[in-house]
């Protein structure tokens, strides 16, 4: 570079970036910090050092129950989303379908529509049918909310795939089905799993859907945390939250290796 910056100005940009990164991680770091306090109230920096809040959480069956509920509905929801999104992505990415842009936009609609309106509608629909929202109702709602993410990942992955691969397999005698199972799908499986991971995380973290649709007998983890945060705060919640933060860091690190996730998440 011919033009060099004077010393002080050269430091401004890295310092600003570092400060914003601190801003991004600070609430998460603080949560993890408060989980180790020996006091019965939340305080940062923590006073003393103990793991008792973690053992308390792991031994409390109500936390386990809530976590299990969240796992089950998030898994079922994101798998159902895959079942409907993948065939659609195949049509929208590979064949000469006219109006595929319009259809893609329609499939993305659940991202555009405010979540709270959608969930209100689902709740009112069950109301009109004079029934309490069933547990599979949660799964259906989560499937709708996560379908766009899986569809988007799969459309991107499939349309980047060389169509010659499938043609080569078929010209060597494979049926279309066999070409798909043995050639095309293995090539997009990495993208699929990153899309699925994102969908699962979103479904697992979703608060508004179970808040409107699930009764008190079926708490999910975010709802359980939400109710505790709103009514009785204790380091126990920090311990639960820290465990979730650790999961998030692992998933984020994993996701960064596949750039399509960054894009899919908007």
């Amino acid at each position: 570079m011919i033009l060099r910056l004077r010393r002080p100005t050269r430091l401004i940009f890295p310092v600003v970036v570092a400060a914003i990164m601190v801003f991004l991680v600070s609430p998460l770091v603080v949560l993890v910090g408060t989980a180790f306090t020996t006091t019965s109230y939340l305080t940062f920096p923590p006073k003393g050092w103990t793991l008792s809040w973690f053992t308390q959480v792991l031994q409390d069956p109500t936390w386990g129950y809530a976590a299990l509920n969240s796992l089950v509905i998030a898994a079922a929801g994101s798998l159902l989303a895959s079942v409907v999104a993948i065939p659609a992505a195949v049509v929208l990415s590979r064949r000469g379908v006219r109006a595929s842009n319009t259809v893609t936009t329609l499939i993305m609609a659940p991202i555009m529509v405010p979540g709270i309106m959608f969930v209100l509608g689902v709740m009112l629909s069950y109301n009109r049918l004079d029934m309490a929202p069933p547990q599979w109702g949660l799964v259906l709602a989560l499937a709708v909310l996560t379908t766009p993410y899986i569809a988007r990942t799969m459309i991107a992955a499939l349309s980047q795939l060389d169509p010659g691969l499938e043609e080569a397999a078929m010209s060597l005698g494979a049926s279309r089905a066999r070409a798909w199972v043995q050639i095309v799908l293995p090539n997009v499986s990495k993208s699929y799993f990153s899309g699925l991971a994102l969908a699962f995380i979103l479904a697992f973290d979703e608060l508004v859907v179970p808040l409107f649709l699930a009764g008190p007998s079926f708490p999910t983890l975010p709802v359980r945390i939400y109710r505790s945060v709103a009514f009785d705060v204790s380091p126990e919640i920090s311990a639960v939250s820290s465990l979730l933060v650790v999961v998030a860091v692992v998933v984020a690190t994993f996701a960064v290796r596949d750039p399509s996730t960054a894009k899919t998440a908007r």
Binding site: V16, V17, I20, M21, L24, V25, S26, P27, L28, L42, P45, A85, P87, A88, V90, V91, R94, R95, G96, V97, P110, M112, V113, P114, G115, M117, F118, G121, L124, S125, N127, R128, L140, A143, A151, S159, Q160, L161, K190, D205, V208, L211, F212, Y226, V229, V233, S241, L244, V247, A248, A252, A255, D258, P259, S260, T261, A262, K263, A265, R266
Partner: protein, 311 residues
């Protein structure tokens, strides 16, 4: 695929995608199957969306024009009264105004905080990119309940960070239940969206334009202000619209950080539908929210279509 490994070739591929699919259309056109069978794989998603997405939205749209006869009771008398109430009653007008201010403020704040990060992400060394991406993606993968809870701890009147925010904080509650606190937490929740949008556009800038400006004697700051920044303005607007549309329908953060003082559209919809059981009024507000979000998304879509690389 080899190109999946690094960021830039992948994003570049995206810009060439329309040309590729156009070519593919021509090639596969010859062996296209009959129309109905080609559309068959869209059946599952159509069925799910019709029953579980279109129908619920239609129910909200109908309910918004019906009359509430006490908690949880709806009569089918059609009325515009719910909308009249939301759009004329000072309580609801103030709530609407607050929702707008909060969403707009969040959008502005995320630009200010997101631009440097996106710049570092696009121009930094590869280890730095990885660090930044993990830092940006981690909040995205964490439940917003958890993130808001973190801010609640930080905003406590006895929290050490309040020394930096002294004048903004309230004596009794710290930054809890204050507009500055709410803005900070909202910006944190939505910053990843802004960073990823801006990154997309900064990464695709032609570096020769900057080199030309530098060669012709402009300083770095002048080059940024007169060449680079104007070129990314489309991305800035796109990101702001995206954040605005998301912010105005956010529920958790305003509910936990804003409390009862700072009611916004989403928390009021929850209040009316789950607590007070005034479903027609809740539906009317939800319909208004949809209208705002749809308008924002429409502008976003037409903007990103016009500028290459937006979104």
């Amino acid at each position: 695929m080899a190109s999946d490994r690094t960021l830039s070739p992948e994003t570049r591929e995206r810009t060439t995608a329309p040309a590729l699919s156009g070519g593919e259309r021509g090639r596969s056109g010859g062996r296209r199957r009959s129309r109905p069978r080609a559309w068959l794989p869209l059946l599952p998603v159509t069925a799910l969306y019709l029953v579980q997405f279109v129908l619920p939205l239609a129910v909200v749209a109908v309910t918004a024009f019906q009359t509430s006869a006490g908690p949880g009771v709806i009569t089918s008398d059609l009325t515009l009264g719910n909308f009249r109430k939301v759009l004329t009653d000072p309580f609801y007008l103030e709530m609407l105004g607050r929702s707008f201010v909060l969403a707009l403020g969040t959008a502005v704040l995320t630009v200010l905080l997101g631009y440097p990060i996106a710049w570092a992400l696009a121009r930094g060394r590869s280890w730095m990119r990885t660090v930044i991406l993990v830092v940006v993606m981690t909040p995205l993968m964490t439940s917003s309940v958890v993130r808001s809870f973190g801010w609640m701890v930080l905003f406590d009147p006895e929290s050490p960070i309040l020394r930096f925010f002294g004048p903004l904080a309230d004596e009794r509650t710290g930054l809890m239940y204050t507009m500055p606190g709410l803005l900070i937490a909202m910006a944190h929740v939505l910053l990843p969206f802004m960073v990823l949008t801006l990154y997309g556009i900064i990464d695709r800038l032609d570096p020769t334009l900057e080199h030309a400006s530098l060669n012709m004697g402009a300083g770095r700051v002048e080059t940024f202000l007169r060449v680079t920044f104007p070129l990314t303005l489309g991305g800035v607007f796109a990101g702001m619209l995206l954040v605005f549309a998301t912010a105005i329908s956010t529920f958790v953060t305003p509910k936990l950080i804003g409390g009862t003082q700072y009611r916004v559209l989403a928390t009021e919809i929850y209040e009316q539908s789950v607590q007070l059981l005034n479903w027609p009024l809740a539906s009317a507000m939800a319909l208004l929210l949809l209208l705002i979000a749809a308008l924002t998304n429409f502008v976003y879509a037409s903007l990103t279509r016009r500028i290459p690389g937006g979104g």
